[in-house]
């Protein structure tokens, strides 16, 4: 085994409640397990277990590469707890932490397993939704918003808080290789709009949709001539 200083890494895992990797200490499998555990640890927000800002940006840039060539629609939602400062000021930071945990749980409960929920800042969150058609964007974002609104947070025995979120969203530009910061900026603009229009609401950037009705599609494909091509 090469001479590696691993005591700090192991201490970090122990503190985070992650068991030491299996296998013989110093073996390649054990070291790989250690690296994997550290990668996982550095990708997550310690309070909520959601993806942190770093892994969120990695996921976002991967998504950009995918939609640039596939043309598939992908939605980015950015969310912010309304009047969160008041929660901290009135009920203390412990209550604030409980609210954040509860919101993340509500977000994770309302999206698909393939979607990525991230905590990107203090009371700021983001959700990356691959393969999400523009027609469904509003409904998905509304579902998330309603779920948070209807989930009271128990911050002390007998004391429940109701919190709301504002949601902004933008679709990845199809067939275009954009950059993560541009996509985030567009979603942020919509979040700003949601905030200034009174909070506890969803604002999505209008998406350019190729408007082809089912009748038109039927006429395009359902003729013997086109069946001939297939």
């Amino acid at each position: 085994m090469p001479d590696l200083r691993l005591d700090l890494a192991l201490q970090l895992l122990q503190q985070a409640g992650v068991p030491e990797p299996e296998g013989e200490r110093g073996s390649a499998a054990w070291l790989q397990g250690l690296v994997d555990a550290l990668v996982d640890l550095s990708s997550r927000d310690p309070l909520t277990g959601a993806a942190n800002r770093r892994s969120f940006e990695v996921a976002l840039s991967r998504e950009i590469d995918r939609v640039a060539r596939s043309g598939e629609a992908a939605l980015l939602l950015v969310l912010d707890i309304d009047h969160f400062k008041r929660v901290n000021d009135t009920h203390g930071h412990g209550a604030g932490d409980l609210v954040i945990k509860s919101v993340v749980q509500a977000l994770q409960d309302t999206v698909r397993p393939m979607d990525l929920v991230a905590r990107t800042g203090g009371e700021e969150f983001a959700i990356v939704l691959p393969n999400c058609a523009p027609a469904f964007g509003q409904a998905v974002a509304e579902r998330v918003r309603r779920r948070v609104q209807s989930t009271p947070v128990a911050v002390a025995p007998g004391q429940q808080l109701q919190v709301t979120i504002s949601v902004g969203g933008a679709f990845a530009p199809q067939w275009v290789r954009s950059r993560t910061h541009l996509w985030i900026e567009r979603a942020d603009q919509q979040l700003y709009r949601a905030k200034s229009e009174g909070r506890n609401r969803v604002c999505l950037e209008p998406a350019a949709v190729l408007q082809v009705s089912n009748d038109e599609k039927r006429l395009l494909f359902e003729t013997s001539q086109f069946q001939d091509l297939a």
């Binding site: 043309g71 006429l219 395009l220 091509l229």
Partner: protein, 263 residues
């Protein structure tokens, strides 16, 4: 402006052809590069402007790695002249540069810059091809609006056909386009192009033209056969019309070029 220069700019506009497609990956850039080479072989002075501002990849197809692109021109870092480079195949290219991601959205400045660039370069060439991005983003639509003629590239498959139809519809309703040239790529058998044109025309006649002052005419400019030589050339980053001029797809591109000159 004297009458003479007005005439010149009109004449210039007549040979600007936008190549677009609703769907990506249908061979738009392959067509632009090989059509340019085929036109050059027929004695035309040709410029390809890679207007695929968000996902420019003509440089990859042509194996060119210029230091100076439209991006630097627009940023004021160099002159337009320096960005016009000679491509293998005997034509000139003006590349957007993949660094122009900021332009995935159209700004008033970008509109003016693109139009000015085109006005400056068009008089020096017989044919200008605008290789646009896929989709119907405002960048694509604006670039197409700068061209006299528009070629929509489609393949005989449902997704491509749907997106080609949607593109034609948008061009007809937002730009008063009444003539669209269609190129059907990856035709699996002779006549696929005619079938695809007929399908598109039929739906356009039924659902789009009735709302317009005059009907839309879709012209089949040509069909390119599904040819394994195309894939090989793309992988080797070579121009098919240069390396295998006898290949069926290369011959078809040559015929397209002739029709474009005569049109």
């Amino acid at each position: 402006m004297s009458d003479g220069t007005l005439e010149a700019s009109r004449a210039a506009a007549r040979k600007v052809t936008a190549i677009t497609s609703g769907k990506g990956g249908v061979g738009k850039t392959f067509l632009a590069a090989n059509l340019a080479a085929a036109l050059a072989r027929q004695g035309q002075r040709v410029l390809v402007l890679d207007a695929d501002l968000g996902l420019a990849n003509l440089d990859v197809v042509l194996n060119l790695f210029p230091k100076v692109t439209l991006h630097e021109v627009f940023a004021g870092k160099c002159k337009l002249e320096e960005a016009i480079v000679a491509a293998p195949g005997g034509f000139s290219v003006l590349l957007a540069g993949s660094g122009m991601v900021e332009y995935s959205r159209m700004t008033p400045e970008l509109r003016d810059q693109l139009r000015d660039v085109l006005n400056q370069v068009a008089p020096r060439f017989d044919q200008v091809l605008l290789d646009t991005g896929a989709g119907i983003s405002d960048v694509v639509l604006y670039t197409v609006s700068l061209a006299h003629r528009v070629i929509v590239v489609a393949t005989p498959e449902p997704t491509s056909l749907t997106d080609a139809y949607a593109t034609i519809k948008v061009l007809a309703t937002t730009q008063q386009r009444r003539r669209i040239s269609l190129v059907v790529n990856q035709a699996r058998r002779p006549g696929d192009g005619r079938v695809v044109r007929q399908q598109l025309q039929q739906v356009v006649d039924r659902y789009v033209s009735p709302g317009l002052d005059s009907p839309i005419q879709i012209d089949l400019l040509g069909e390119l056969p599904n040819d394994s030589a195309v894939r090989d050339a793309v992988l080797r980053r070579q121009l098919l019309v240069e390396t295998l001029p006898g290949a069926p797809a290369a011959v078809a591109v040559g015929q397209l070029a002739t029709r474009l000159i005569d049109a």
